[in-house]
Structures are given as C-alpha cells and as structure tokens.
C-alpha cells in the first residue's frame, strides 16, 4: 500500500515535470526580446505596483532588470 502510494506520487511528479522545457542557451533570442519585458508599459507597471502597495501592503522588490538572456 505504501509502495503503491509512493509509486503514484512519483508518477504524478513526473507528469508535472514532463511539461517543463529546457531552453538551451542559444535559443533565448525570443525570451530576450524587448517585448518580453515585464515592465514594458510604465503605466501598467505603475498600476501593478499600486495594487501591491495598497492591497497587499507590499512595495519594492520588483526592480530586477534584464530579460531571459542568461548570458555569461
């Protein structure tokens, strides 16, 4: 019984992870595109920050720059 549950837990884990795709370092051209930036629109970014600040009492921590280049 215990073995069965472990087996199914492992199988479920595999099912969830099989959807992950490994993007190779040389395939990141699209991810680094300007349009993929989270802060593409300053107005929208401001609104999102306002929501975090006013509804979740959280501010800051969103200043990570760069895209998905993963260079160097």
């Amino acid at each position: 019984m215990k073995l069965k549950s472990i087996f199914f837990a492992g199988l479920t884990g595999l099912m969830f992870t099989s959807g992950c795709a490994n993007v190779k370092p040389w395939e990141r051209g699209t991810l680094t595109d300007y349009t993929m930036r989270g802060d593409l629109s300053p107005i929208q970014a401001g609104q999102v920050q306002h929501i975090y600040f006013s509804r979740e009492e959280a501010t800051g921590g969103s200043g990570v720059g760069g895209g998905g280049c993963g260079c160097n």
Partner: protein
C-alpha cells in the same frame, strides 16, 4: 530498503533532465568537427589546417558578445600573420538581426550563421558567448564560458600566444 530505493529513483528521474545539461558536448581535448558539414551560412576560411582557431558562439541579443567583438577583432588583427583564425558563429534565428548587429560592430574576422543550430547543438555551449580555442592540430585546448571583460581578454592573449608558439 525497497522504499528507499524507489524514493531515490523517483528523485533521480525528476532531476535527470537537468543533470544531463551540466556539461558542454564539445570539450577540451576533443577534435574540432568538420565545419563544412554543418551548412553554415556565409563563407568559411579556406583551410583551418595548421591554424590556431578561436571558435566563438555568439548572438545579437547577447550583451557580453557585443563587448567581446572589439577584443576579438584586435586579437585577429594582431595575430593573424602568425596563424590565428577567429571564426564567430552566430546562433541568431533571423539573419536580419545578425546583419544589423554586424553593421554596428564591424570586424575583420570571419562571421557565419548557424541557421539550423546544428553546430551549436553539437558543441552545446553552456552560455552565450562561449569560445573554444583550438590548437594547430585541430584539438580543443581551452574553453571560455562567457566574456568577462579584461580578465577574459588577458586569458585569450596568454592562451593564444602559447598555442601559436607550438609547432604543428
């Protein structure tokens, strides 16, 4: 015991995909494959036999690659008479992006494009840019992951000079 083994197997299976990607396929000591069989866009140098080759994988979207171009251009100009050939392989999916980059970064060394990603899939570089230094006998002798400014430049000079000194 069995339970432990199953748990271990399950965890191994979950991480197997990531473990497989931790090492470049083309490593130090490996021979450089025949580049003419990879359908690279652009013209390759006539012969690489007996030359010291820097094979550099780069992309127009990669910041450190742009930083490395003037350095490699200077190296090419300085050492080409002694037998250095720098071959930059672009992995850009669109030729137009590579062309636009080349307009802003004109260089004296050879630049080709691996449009089908065949060569880069063989070499499997861990990051962009990655350069391989190949000796006069056609063997990979040094591997550079990324470009770290003057530190990488210094290593390039030392390693290229030592490879150029060696007779084929």
């Amino acid at each position: 015991m069995n339970t432990f083994l199953i748990k271990k197997l399950a965890v191994s299976a979950l991480f197997a995909g990531n473990i497989a990607n931790t090492q470049a396929a083309l490593n130090v000591g490996d021979p450089l494959p025949d580049l003419s069989s990879y359908k690279l866009e652009g013209s390759l140098p006539d012969s690489l036999k007996g030359k010291v080759v820097v094979l550099d994988f780069w992309a127009s979207w990669c910041g450190p690659c742009a930083e490395s171009f003037p350095v490699m251009d200077a190296l090419q100009k300085k050492y080409q008479d002694q037998g250095l050939v720098i071959l930059a392989v672009s992995v850009d999916e669109k030729a137009a992006k590579m062309d636009a980059f080349m307009k802003n970064h004109p260089v004296a060394f050879t630049v080709v494009r691996d449009a089908e990603h065949k060569l880069v899939a063989t070499a499997e570089p861990e990051t962009m840019p990655t350069s391989l230094l190949i000796d006069r006998e056609g063997k990979v002798r040094y591997l550079h992951n990324g470009f770290h400014g003057s530190a990488t430049q210094k290593e390039y000079v030392e390693q290229i000079e030592s490879l150029l000194k060696a007779t084929p």
